[in-house]
């Protein structure tokens, strides 16, 4: 029984059921059903910790498209398990929180359906071993994120934020897919494990570096790395539980997961090292630098998330250096960076999740998240304040909270790497700890801003929508649990380190693990007066200084005005693409049927006629003709005359009479061609059609003379003759050259095979009865269409619920 594969699908099943529960179970908040799923998953996954931490992995396969080697292989190692626990654990807490956050007037059915979709997709991303399956789940997370950001779709900003995040993450996803296909074609397998196993054979391939860059593009867009970070602040339009869950704790970690997962493939290359470390460390700085200027609490947290993601990213980059050096006692030092990255990944989810929930509580309570209007909430919301302080201090890297531990480890890593001499680190390496330290100072500043501006200072009730008060206790449960975890991880960090992170390290450095290296680290809170502790003390000193002198140096932000930001560039680019493509489209999409017909017919003439002329494939032998009697001459010539006269018909009655002549002429021809059934049908249909035309004419205007210009008329005539000539030529050519014998002789046994003497009827009613049945359905649809056209009137005005 593939229980792990099933675990991926349980949220999807839940997503299918929730709308019904929402509709039919009215007196219970539907969130209480939804919360069962992540709770059960978390408990199940937690029960697997002993297996995984002993170094085992669990692999289960469910066939999907085996002929292309694409199967749903769930692969659970320490790395996957760590993330899966985050997804289900934070998921459960967020749903609990959302039950109190979202009022029952909201579209809760859709909300929890999207949330379940996301949860399933995210579990799929971290557990999939097949690259193409991973890609499918990856895009599913983008789509569910889009749906959740646009949850309040009546707001313009929500819609725009959703669109932006979708465009950026999906573009990255596509490039990642291309990268995957390159990797797959190099390694001849779609399985990530198998790619890792024979990485030695592909790293000389010419596509190796392009594939790496494309995969990285996917990771960077998803994890909001500079310059793709611009979607994350806009995504804050989502309901706060969504921001806490998708846009800080889980989905944005997918890019980091991807980098970690592919480190054994690409790590050890200088390009990988510099791309991941460089982008990460710059994002760390840029995010923290911009977070300080934000006035919206959620925007502040969004930039802080960008910054923290950059920090984790850079640690994975620095850790990959170990793979370049190969296994030795010196190189193992660098793996400490990866260890710190994984540890911070967990820590960040705890404190940032708590902080987002706090912002939601404040917003819920006083109706604003603008720090210029907030202040003095400490006495009115003491519990909220306490949790906010725990989260912020952890974010700033202060003891006794888990952020301190991972921040210290980060500093150690930057110092270690700056002393290295490979990859050109000798000259540039020193920049890494410097930027990291500066960014950390800003991190300290915005963490302080978060607490001080919201909770200290004067209380300005006149600026608030509602007076401040503590929320319902239920809303506080989740942030308190996360806050407690923040403290717990500080005091017993090695529980996480030993059972989750050390096995995860084995997945990132499989070659080292095979050598028997001890990749685990023992995390100490105190390790003497080391350089990293000095750095932390420096961060606090300068942080306090910068915080106090904030208004003197705030002018520095005017160097980066909105007009020259990446956001403006993105908007400009999008507008240009839209404008230019509309312009081009409008050139040929004239919304005039004749023009479209001209395109079609010109293509017919050039495509078919041209092909015959250029390839010389046309072969024409006059078919053996049956004899023509005088009567037949008469009919055919009369029909030709009638056909041509239609063009000159002045009145619509003449036109329809001429059309009837054609129809009845064909009926006579059918008689002559030994087709009595056709003749009968044609006669009936032609009579009905004529009547129908006459009835319709009662309601339609007279045919007036076409006021078409002479030139257009000539073009029309030219095209018509061209089509007629090509058609005749093809028809004659086909008749002269038979490629194979007719299959009709099969039907000549109609009496034995179908019990009918009339072969045509036997074909329609027996041999091809399904076709006839579908034809009847077509008639039915046409009938419904006719009825609808006549009967149904559209409402002139539809209700507008969206703002512009």
């Amino acid at each position: 029984m593939s229980t792990i594969v099933l675990a991926i699908f349980i949220p999807f099943f839940a997503a299918a059921i929730i709308p019904f529960l929402y509709k039919y179970v009215k007196n219970i908040h539907v969130g209480w059903f939804a919360i069962l799923v992540p709770t059960a998953l978390f408990l199940y996954l937690a029960s697997l910790i002993p297996t995984i931490s002993s170094g085992d992995v669990i692999v289960q396969t469910m066939n999907w498209i085996p002929s292309y080697g694409i199967n749903l292989t769930a692969y659970l190692d320490g790395l996957s398990l760590t993330l899966a626990l985050l997804i289900s654990g934070v998921g459960a807490l967020v749903i609990l929180y959302s039950i109190y956050y979202l009022s029952s007037r909201e579209a809760l059915g859709s909300f929890y359906t999207y949330l379940m979709l996301f949860m399933g997709a995210m579990l799929g991303v971290v557990m999939a071993d097949n690259m193409l399956v991973l890609y499918v789940f990856w895009e599913l997370t983008s789509i569910s994120s889009f749906l959740l950001i646009a949850f309040w779709y009546q707001r313009k900003r929500s819609r725009e934020g959703a669109k932006k995040s979708l465009i950026i993450t999906v573009s990255g996803g596509i490039s990642m897919l291309v990268g995957f296909i390159m990797v797959g074609s190099m390694a001849n397998t779609w399985s990530i494990r198998e790619v890792i196993a024979d990485v030695g054979t592909i790293n000389e391939h010419v596509l190796f570096i392009p594939a790496m860059l494309l995969v990285l593009l996917g990771a960077f867009t998803k994890s909001a790395q500079f310059p793709f970070h611009i979607w994350l602040p806009d995504a804050m339009e989502a309901p706060t539980p969504v921001s806490a869950y998708l846009h800080s704790a889980t989905m944005v970690k997918a890019g980091i997961y991807l980098v970690a997962r592919f480190t054994p493939v690409f790590g050890g290359e200088a390009v990988w090292f510099w791309a991941v470390t460089g982008v990460g460390i710059f994002t760390l700085f840029w995010g923290s630098f911009n977070a300080v200027r934000q006035t919206d609490l959620k925007a502040l947290l969004a930039y802080s998330t960008i910054s923290q993601l950059g920090m984790i990213m850079s640690m994975f980059g620095m850790g990959s250096a170990a793979l370049y050096l190969g296994y030795s006692t010196e190189s193992v030092i660098y793996t400490g960076s990866t260890f710190a990255a994984l540890f911070h990944l967990v820590n960040h989810s705890t404190f940032k999740g708590a902080l987002f929930m706090i912002v939601g509580i404040v917003d819920h309570s006083v109706g604003t998240r603008d720090i210029r209007r907030l202040g003095g909430l400490i006495t009115l919301m003491p519990v909220t304040f306490t949790v906010a302080t725990i989260g912020s201090m952890s974010m700033a890297g202060l003891p006794p909270f888990n952020g301190f531990l991972s921040k210290e480890m980060f500093f150690i890593s930057t110092l270690d790497i700056s002393e290295a001499s490979f990859f050109g680190l000798g000259s540039w390496g020193i920049l890494i700890p410097v930027i990291a330290w500066v960014a950390s100072v800003f991190t300290f500043v915005y963490s302080t801003v978060f607490v001080v501006k919201t909770f200290l200072g004067p209380y300005k009730e006149e600026k608030l929508e509602h007076p401040a008060h503590e929320p319902k206790p239920g809303m506080l449960v989740s942030p308190i649990i996360l806050g407690l975890l923040v403290i717990a991880f500080f005091f017993v960090p090695n529980m996480v380190g030993k059972h989750l992170i050390t096995p995860a390290m084995g997945g990132i450095f499989p070659t080292f693990a095979a050598e028997g290296a001890d990749l685990g680290q023992h995390i100490h809170a105190w390790h003497g007066f080391t350089p990293e502790l000095v750095m932390t003390i420096g961060v606090i000193l300068f942080g306090v200084l910068l915080f106090l002198t904030r208004k003197y140096w705030a002018g520095v932000y005017s160097l980066f005005p909105e007009k020259r930001s990446i956001n403006t560039f993105y908007g400009f680019m999008l507008n240009q693409i839209e404008e230019k493509s509309t312009l081009i489209t409008n050139k040929y999409m004239t919304r005039y049927l004749r023009d479209y017909m001209v395109y079609i017919f010109t293509f017919f003439i050039l495509g078919i006629g041209g092909t015959f002329i250029f390839t010389g494939a046309y072969k024409f032998t006059l078919p053996e003709n049956a004899s023509i009697s005088n009567f037949e001459w008469l009919i055919v010539l009369a029909m030709m005359a009638a056909g041509i006269t239609v063009l000159f018909a002045k009145s619509r009655l003449t036109a329809i009479v001429l059309n009837s002549i054609l129809g009845f002429g064909i009926a006579i021809l059918f008689v002559l061609f030994r087709a009595p059934d056709l003749a009968l049908t044609q006669m009936i249909i032609e009579a009905v059609t004529t009547v129908l035309f006459l009835v319709a004419y009662y309601f339609l205007p007279e045919l007036d003379k076409e006021d078409t210009r002479k030139k257009t008329k000539n073009i029309n005539l030219f095209i018509s003759i061209g089509v007629g000539v090509v058609f005749t030529a093809v028809a004659l050519g086909v008749q002269g050259n038979r490629a194979f014998e007719t299959i009709s002789s099969f039907y000549e046994n109609s009496y034995e095979l179908a019990g009918g003497n009339n072969m045509v009827n036997a074909i329609l009613g027996d041999f091809r009865a399904f076709d006839t049945m579908l034809e009847v359905i077509v008639l039915l649809i046409a009938g419904i269409g006719v009825y609808t056209f006549i009967r149904v009137r559209t409402k002139k005005e539809s209700d507008q619920i969206e703002d512009k």
């Binding site: 004749r594 129908l692 319709a696 018509s720 008749q735 007719t742 003497n757 077509v778 046409a782």
Partner: protein, 110 residues
């Protein structure tokens, strides 16, 4: 006979194409009806004409029954198409007051 009927079909296709390119919705609909006729003649001719008796068992050597079955289906479908387009034209004229396709261009913002 086959060549003659093919040429007839060619003439009808020419006429139909010209009508399809015109401005008036009624002409376009008549054009589709004539195009259907031309198609039927083509299918009929492809199987050779007048090579035997009617396709009924026991009448001797029958002509090819397959094109006849195809055409029978097509006649009915052609009728449905004509009916729907006529009603569409009727509603268009009623709602918008014109049957001229160059005036029926819609709103560029839609």
């Amino acid at each position: 006979m086959e060549t003659l009927v093919t040429i007839l079909a060619g003439v009808l296709v020419t006429v139909a194409t010209y009508l399809l390119l015109s401005k008036s919705l009624i002409r376009v609909i008549i054009g589709t009806a004539i195009l259907t006729h031309a198609g039927h003649l083509l299918i009929m001719t492809l199987a050779k004409l007048k090579t035997g008796t009617v396709p009924i068992v026991g009448e001797g050597n029958p002509v090819d029954p397959l094109p006849q079955a195809l055409i029978l289906t097509s006649i009915v479908i052609g009728f449905a198409v004509t009916a729907v387009s006529l009603v569409l034209a009727y509603r268009t004229y009623q709602e918008l007051g014109t049957d001229k396709l160059d005036k029926l261009r819609g709103d560029p913002d839609e």
